[in-house]
Subunit: 188 residues, 2 copies
DNA sequence: GTCTATATATTGATAGAC
DNA sequence: GTCTATCAATATATAGAC
């Protein structure tokens, strides 16, 4: 197998396992088993667990950038784009119920561990934050755009934590409806 | 040292360490060192790590019940009590910035681990949920009281996750202000 | 590039002396 | 009730054959 393909498989498996089980609870053996590699060969591709985490975060950053670009091309209006973000708690509802928000849970875990890569992980939030701020600016709310962006982010995290804890889909729907109403007051 | 006192010390130390560093990242050795006990003697008091976690959750449940009773005696009105809860993200602002919400982060970690005691930990949320629902019922919003209670809980979790990630106190203040405005529309 | 074998540290947990 | 000594399992990580 070519090096690039194996590396990609490792990052994919690690990404999924870190999300489903948490970073610390995932061992090299788990990732190696998921890819079908021996533990020994693993270090040919990544020299440390931090290196894998770094690659996973990079992959998530790239994936997020791609998703935001798609949203921009699919949704012509800024409020449509913000709504697309808000509805992610429904779109990814099953995953969030089972594993929480991939961005929030990773940041919480790395912050608590005092991990050196927490700054990198925070970048995932910053990506959404800046993008949301841009949409609110386009809606004519430049002065409070960052505040509004953070409010939308807080919504997503609050819903994700409680959805993960209580596994109640109706609660998620009600919160999205509430957010839709709130958002309509900021529409052009 | 008497058995009860040592046990209490262990639970206190474990409670703090589980909060600050996470459950899985905290080892027996860490707790034993914090209390000043040898690892060996540890098992005289608790036979497993799960048993300590169980005791910690029980202690938190008792502490939370006590706090809610205090709030009830200090705040005569239901909206004053709800506001007391909302402002906890400011009252405990420093801790939340450093370690997140003790209830939310524990629930997220245990849910992801698929830990048998996640149900117990969920009880911490349920305690707040039921108490908030009662306050909203007293305000005359019986039919949607649980929905409103969950909304307030979601607020607290969203703010806690982002405060933990970005360590921005001004953001917390703005969110509390927003919540105060929202709450005023449900006041008698 | 992949494997087996191994080193080293730490984990949760036990046995038995005092 | 507290200690030291120890166990078995698992963790990250390395060495070297193929």
């Amino acid at each position: 197998m070519s090096g690039a393909a194996t590396r990609e498989q490792i990052v994919d498996a690690a990404d999924r396992l870190f999300y489903h089980r948490g970073y610390e609870h995932t061992s090299f053996a788990d990732i190696a088993a998921a890819v079908g590699l021996s533990r020994g060969n693993f270090y040919y591709h990544f020299k440390s667990k931090d290196a894998i985490l770094d690659a996973v975060i990079e992959a998530r950053l790239a994936g997020t950038r791609h998703m935001l670009e798609q949203w921009e091309s699919q949704q012509p209006t800024p409020d449509g784009r913000i709504l697309q973000f808000v509805e992610i708690v429904l779109t990814n509802g099953t995953d969030i119920q089972q594993y929480g928000c991939p961005v929030g849970t990773l940041n919480t875990e790395l912050a608590k561990l005092g991990h050196t890569l927490h700054g990198q992980a925070r970048g995932l939030f910053t990506l959404f934050r800046d993008w949301l701020r841009e949409q609110f600016t386009l809606l004519g709310h430049g002065e409070q755009a960052d505040d509004l962006a953070m409010h939308v982010l807080a919504f997503s995290q609050g819903v994700a934590v409680l959805s993960h804890t209580f596994r109640d889909e109706e609660f998620v729907r009600r919160e999205v409806d509430r957010m839709r109403d709130w958002l309509s007051t900021y529409r052009k």
